[in-house]
């Protein structure tokens, strides 16, 4: 295997899980998440040498991912659907709790505008710095800060989500 293919394969191997999880938080669907990650990697592969020389591959791939996701949303070839009924939060057992968390979080994320969702996921979940998020989204750091503040304020108004957070602290 040549150096480019080797480097790319190593990147995919090391980062595919994290990228898929981020993609799931954006799309709310594992099949779409996998498709989104593949799409971002397909876009990156032909330029891999250049990306490695001039850019941080992680940032580049995430940018490709967020841009693809935004363009999918514009095209609406997959329609976002509001989550159905949320399971009773008193459901017993770890699996039931996990499912409840998943649905509640996904519903809360879907209530956010796309930009806020992307900033929140990249900053809070992926732990990118504000400067890195700005790089991914091609905007100013100030915009990232403001967007994140709006997203957090909105999430704090979600009683189910705050209920889960309260339960975690107890």
């Amino acid at each position: 295997m040549d150096a480019k293919a080797d480097g790319f394969a190593q990147f995919v191997e090391a980062r595919q899980r994290a990228l898929q999880r981020t993609a799931w938080l954006l799309t709310g669907d594992w099949a779409l998440a996998e498709d989104l990650v593949q799409t971002a990697l397909v876009r990156s592969w032909p330029r891999w040498e250049r990306i490695k020389r001039r850019d941080d591959p992680e940032i580049y791939v995430r940018r490709a991912m967020v841009n693809s996701w935004a363009s999918w949303r514009r095209r609406r070839w997959w329609g976002e659907q509001a989550a159905g009924t949320v399971p009773d939060s008193q459901a017993v057992g770890d699996v039931a709790t996990e499912v409840a968390v998943r649905i509640t979080v996904q519903r809360a994320l879907r209530s956010l505008p796309a930009r806020q969702r992307a900033v929140l996921v990249l900053r809070v979940f992926d732990d990118l710095s504000e400067a890195q998020v700005a790089q991914v989204l091609d905007c100013a750091v100030g915009t990232v800060k403001a967007t994140l503040a709006h997203a957090m304020a909105r999430l704090r108004e979600d009683p189910r989500l705050t209920g889960l957070m309260d339960r975690e602290t107890q």
Binding site: E13, R21, W24, E34, V42, E98, F125
Partner: protein, 232 residues
């Protein structure tokens, strides 16, 4: 990160869970190939549709007889602004762009670089030409070209084939390779050295990548090379 951020992060962590499938580099590579095939097919359909519509359009405009028959297409010659050669364009070939500036002899410029004269041929095949002074003979220049292409474009260290031809009457080599290695993307590089100037002429088909296209692409490139005349 404050307490609320951390709590939220923990919830996101729990919610995201584990992906059910892995994404592999091999799957990505297969998808790149599929995408190029689809793009090629879409392009071919568009060309066919346009070709079918043109006579209809001409008829609608009251010019159903079409243009007068001009017989065999007149030969078109391109004189390179920077590189001291002319190209008599074979049928189906056209000049896309002349180099914006002269190549300094370093690296291995590709079809997207602004130091190349870029041509498009039948079926989407393309050829690009660069030249720069060299002190090397043909064999050494060919070796250098392969080595640099390997470093810059991830081509294999040894080409699939290395054959003797002539370009404008000068001895030349044509090297078949795949870039990146093992990708199935055929890249041909013809090299010659003429009066201390090394010429590198690359060809690939960015639209059609199936093996069945390769003989046609090779033949089109041979015709292109046959049209080159080296000046001085």
């Amino acid at each position: 990160m404050n307490g609320v951020d951390r709590q939220l992060r923990d919830l996101l962590e729990t919610a995201a869970g584990e992906p059910p499938h892995r994404v592999s580099a091999e799957a990505v590579r297969r998808r790149v190939i599929r995408r190029r095939v689809v793009e090629f097919a879409a392009g071919a359909v568009a060309v066919a549709a346009i070709a079918a519509l043109i006579p209809v359009g001409i008829g609608a405009l009251g010019h159903a007889h079409g243009p007068p028959n001009s017989g065999p297409a007149a030969a078109r010659m391109v004189t390179s602004r920077h590189y001291g050669y002319t190209e008599t364009l074979p049928a189906g070939w056209r000049l896309v762009t002349q180099a914006k500036r002269q190549w300094n002899g370093k690296g291995a410029p590709g079809d997207g670089d602004n130091v190349v004269d870029l041509f498009k041929g039948p079926g989407g095949v393309e050829a690009w030409v660069v030249a720069a002074p060299t002190s090397k003979d043909l064999a050494a220049y060919a070796t250098r070209t392969v080595r640099v292409a390997g470093a810059v474009h991830s081509c294999p260290k040894v080409p699939q084939s290395n054959r003797a031809i002539t370009i404008g009457g000068a001895p030349a080599r044509v090297l078949d390779t795949q870039c990146p290695a093992g990708s199935g993307f055929l890249v041909e590089i013809a090299v010659t050295v003429h009066h201390g100037i090394g010429f590198a002429i690359g060809s690939q088909n960015p639209t059609g990548i199936t093996p069945t296209d390769q003989p046609a692409d090779r033949a089109a490139f041979r015709k292109f090379l046959a049209g080159i005349r080296l000046q001085r």
